[in-house]
């Protein structure tokens, strides 16, 4: 377009400076996307790149808007700027401040804020330049009598608002704000919203001004709709903080009002731009296309912003790239397209190859961000993925973002490069306009209906079991152990919590040839959560009194195994200690559980004699383990190794230390009488025996065990270590096994070294003993949740 006043030439300098910021900002945006898409491939200082990208992007919007104002205001006022000298001073001041801001970002000096991350001196320089601009603007405007078109009002409000925002953004320098939390954060949010609001006003003003010129009708700027947009945009700019602040927003009512304002403003503005840019003459074809594109993106971004305001959706998308898609969609889709329209009008650009590249690149860019953000948000809230896992799953789309960003940069460069005039042909009217409008309406309704049918889990994992499941997912345990760990729970017999915890620390403590990697790098809370999760699976399995495997005791070999001591060290000493005192390196993980046996004391849980166990008892314990304790089965050992271990275990008790100088292990056990056939009468008799023996005193009224943590007792084992709970008699998990013979042994001889006494003398009649056993087996608790 023609330059009619001298200072208008400055407009081209502003717009050119802005364009340089745009290209540099786009390049930095691509650099910023690289750590997202390819972490660790190239080491880039993201904490420097981001402030630079943001400053340049905001700089582009402000410089280009000022360029448009510098051009169009003199045209409208029919007079040059009030003070060309001030305008030039302002340009150099802004340039110096901009260069200093770039230097600050490159040097890595930061004030830690997201936008306008300037040192106070630089911000002061910008403030002075802005005041110069404001003075010049209003003095120039005063030359033209009212009524002023709506877009001039928008510029005026935007200018005043930016000055206020710049000041508010520095309130944190005052101790009453910067030293108070969360007030500091609230003020930061408010100033960001004020910045967005003032940018919006400047850009909307530019859009309406350019659209008026495209349509060729000077009355459009004074229409009711235009003024309605002005009022809505002003109110919205002032209240935008209410929909952008999250947890620090004081009032949900305010938030709804802010959302409603933005929706109304956006709808109206998009409608105006769309209707003012109807296909017409060949003049201003390029600006017209850009403005139509901006109107379209305004509609898209509006829907996105409205969706993000719905609390249940917001819970999924906050902190993800969906928010970034909304921000970038508006910065690029609306602001940049409008300013490119203004620039192409200034330059009288005739063709634009850049427009078509942008039409492809921008939807791809926004779509990739939306998909990546959705994957991340849904993953974190619904599946409990950690932030890292969720970002990892979204990685392909983050790479798409970077590639689309490259295409965007290309589009900008193409657009700025084109300067050729259009040929004379009129463009044909767009066919199927009505169908397109219907499709748009249908899509809008479809999007608006999402809250009603999209199920969203709103809570994050909070209990230890849920957290443990998240850890299981994050550490990829499922790669070996199966997706839901039921395979883990099915394949391996129940292990105690302490055993699980020790196993995570070093899987080779009890199984030297295990291929499981160590997870000792897990934090205490993560490991405890994982153990809680696995424990919950163990305890929640469909209950059945799984019969304890019967152990055939192989005959003792003639010659002892030569490497027996190695077997003890590699498999047993990690819990039971090198000296058999129960103080091996894994023992500390059993602190809240049952501790590994101290063999030197000569007390053993599992025995079939009133005194010490037989060799067969020890053999059985080694092969079958002790269900319900940390002692796992070692069925994979050869019989020769097992016998050798039996001898080693016995030898600890013979080590002379004054406590057990003579330990006489039994040679053979008294035989167990044959069990009678179970009958209902016998079971009923068992109930009476149970009451008479007062088993409930230790095992609880419901026989599900009592706990030291509930203050039920303060027992310790033979080494003075606390015993935490008495046995739950309903689950079929017993240290000696749950076959009738095993229970017989336990009841008659008790558990050495534990508070369970022997009831041999209290129950002289074998029938009473079997009755009790049958009663216990008959009243197994089927399917209900175990007590932990």
């Amino acid at each position: 377009m023609k330059v009619t006043h001298e200072t208008q030439r400055l407009a081209y300098r502003y717009w050119g400076a802005g364009a340089a910021c745009l290209i540099a900002g786009a390049a930095l945006g691509i650099l910023a996307a690289i750590p997202h898409g390819w972490p660790g491939v190239v080491s880039l200082p993201f904490e420097k790149i981001r402030p630079l990208h943001v400053t340049l992007a905001v700089g582009w919007v402000f410089l280009a808007s000022m360029g448009a104002i510098f051009y169009f205001l003199p045209r409208m006022c029919d007079a040059d700027w009030w003070s060309p000298g001030l305008a030039r001073l302002q340009f150099w001041l802004l340039g110096a401040a901009g260069a200093a801001a770039v230097a600050q970002a490159v040097a890595g000096v930061s004030t830690g804020r997201e936008y306008l991350d300037f040192l106070p001196a630089i911000a002061a320089a910008i403030g002075v330049a802005w005041i110069c601009f404001a003075v010049n603007f209003f003095k120039t405007l005063a030359r033209r009598p009212r009524p002023w078109p709506a877009y001039v009002w928008m510029w005026a409000v935007g200018i005043v608002l930016f000055a206020a925002t710049l000041a508010e953004g520095h309130l944190h320098l005052l101790p009453g704000v910067g030293g108070a939390f969360p007030r500091d954060l609230t003020v930061q949010w408010k100033s960001i919203a004020g910045l967005i609001g003032s940018m919006n006003l400047l850009v909307y003003g530019t859009a309406l001004c350019v659209a008026e010129h495209v349509a060729g009708d000077p009355g459009l700027g004074k229409s009711r709709r235009a003024f309605a947009v002005l009022w809505l945009a002003t109110a919205d700019a002032l209240l935008a903080f209410a929909r952008h602040t999250y947890a620090v927003n004081p009032s949900p009512v305010l938030r709804v009002v802010a959302v409603a304002l933005s929706v109304a403003e956006g709808v109206l503005l998009a409608w105006i731009l769309w209707s003012w840019t109807k296909p017409g003459g060949a003049e201003h074809e390029v600006p017209r296309k850009f403005l139509r594109g901006a109107a379209f993106w305004m509609g898209v971004n509006l829907c996105l912003g409205a969706l993000l305001s719905i609390p249940s959706l917001n819970a999924v998308t906050h902190g993800t790239h969906v928010t970034t898609a909304h921000a970038m969609g508006s910065m690029i889709g609306v602001h940049t397209l409008v300013l490119l329209a203004a620039g192409s009008m200034l330059l009288s650009a005739g063709r634009s190859a850049g427009f078509w590249v942008l039409s492809v690149a921008l939807p791809a860019f926004v779509a990739c961000l939306l998909i990546a953000g959705t994957i991340k948000g849904v993953g974190m809230t619904r599946h409990g993925w950690s932030h890292f896992t969720a970002t990892d799953r979204a990685r392909p789309f983050l790479r798409g973002v970077a590639l689309a960003g490259v295409a965007l940069g290309l589009g900008f460069m193409l657009e700025l490069h084109s300067a050729r005039r259009a040929s004379g042909e009129l463009p044909a009217p767009a066919p199927g306009r009505r169908r397109r409008r219907l499709a748009f309406a249908a899509a809008a309704v479809g999007l608006a209906s999402i809250p009603w049918w999209w199920p969203v889990r709103e809570t994050l994992p909070s209990t230890p079991v849920e957290l443990g499941r998240a850890v299981y997912e994050r550490e990829a345990c499922w790669k070996c152990h199966g997706v839901d760990a039921p395979d883990l729970a099915r394949e391996i017999p129940p292990r105690s919590d302490g055993w699980l915890r020790a196993k995570l620390h070093d899987p080779r403590w009890t199984a030297p040839d295990s291929k499981m990697p160590s997870f000792r790098r897990l934090t205490e809370s993560d490991a405890a959560a994982l153990v809680a999760y696995l424990g919950s699976l163990r305890d929640a399995r469909p209950f059945a009194w799984k019969a304890s495997p019967a152990v055939t005791v192989a005959p003792r070999p003639a010659a002892p195994a030569p490497h027996a001591w190695c077997v003890y060290v590699t498999r047993c000493s990690t819990c039971h200690g090198y000296d058999g005192r129960g103080d091996g390196p894994a023992a500390r993980f059993f602190a809240g559980d049952s501790m590994p046996r101290d063999f030197t004391r000569g007390l053993y849980r599992s025995r079939s004699t009133p005194g010490l166990p037989t060799d067969e008892d020890l053999y059985r314990t080694i092969v079958r383990g002790m269900p319900g304790s940390g002692m796992p089965p070692f069925a994979e050992l050869s019989p020769a190794d097992c016998w050798a271990l039996v001898d080693i275990v016995k030898s600890f008790a013979r080590r002379g230390d004054g406590r057990n100088p003579f330990v006489a292990f039994a040679r053979e056990a008294p035989p167990i009488p044959p069990p009678p056939a179970p009958t209902p009468e016998l079971v009923e008799r068992g109930r009476a025996v149970l009451a008479a023996m007062k088993c409930a005193a230790c095992h609880g009224e419901d026989l599900r065990g009592r706990s030291r943590r509930d203050g039920a007792f303060d027992w310790t084992d033979e080494a003075g270590r606390p015993i935490w709970r008495s046995r739950d008699l309903t689950r079929g998990v017993f240290k000696n096994g749950n076959a009738p013979e095993d229970l017989y042994r336990t009841i008659i001889y008790g558990q050495g070294g534990s508070p369970m006494p022997s009831f041999g003398d209290s129950l002289p009649d074998p029938l009473d003993r079997w009755a009790l056993i049958y009663y216990l087996r008959a009243h197994a608790d089927l399917g209900s949740k175990p007590r932990r």
């Binding site: 750590p35 997202h36 972490p39 660790g40 993201f46 904490e47 420097k48 981001r50 402030p51 930061s110 830690g112 804020r113 997201e114 991350d117 009212r146 002023w148 709506a150 409000v157 030293g179 108070a180 939390f181 969360p182 954060l185 609230t186 003020v187 930061q188 949010w189 408010k190 960001i192 004074k222 003024f227 009022w231 002003t234 109110a235 002032l238 209240l239 903080f241 602040t245 999250y246 947890a247 620090v248 927003n249 004081p250 819970a315 906050h318 902190g319 993800t320 790239h321 970034t324 950690s386 932030h387 890292f388 709103e458 809570t459 994050l460 909070s462 934090t523 205490e524 809370s525 993560d526």
Partner: protein, 117 residues
Amino acid sequence: MERATPLVLAALVLACVAVSALSYADRSADLSDEAREGKRAYERRNCAACHSVYGSGGVLGPDLTNVWSRRGPQHIARTLTEGWQAMPDPKLEGREVESLMDYLEYLDTTGEFPPRR
């Protein structure tokens, strides 16, 4: 329309300013000295480039408002001294690690984000 504009704008501005002043009347607490030092370190190192607090900040890393209770101090200490997963070693100096941990501990006491429904 145009004639009414100054009045409408003035009314809107007054109303909105009055309303937004409410957000300054909040339940703010003064930071302790250690937390304030940590906040300065947080800003100086521009942690907000990647992390957010109450949703304000970057999205490259997780929100740090309640990381103290959700991950625990040992995890935080290890991350700040040697990095973890996608976070490189931040190469902090002097008392920065301790003061950042004080700040994160303080943040955890101020509220919960994201809010549990």
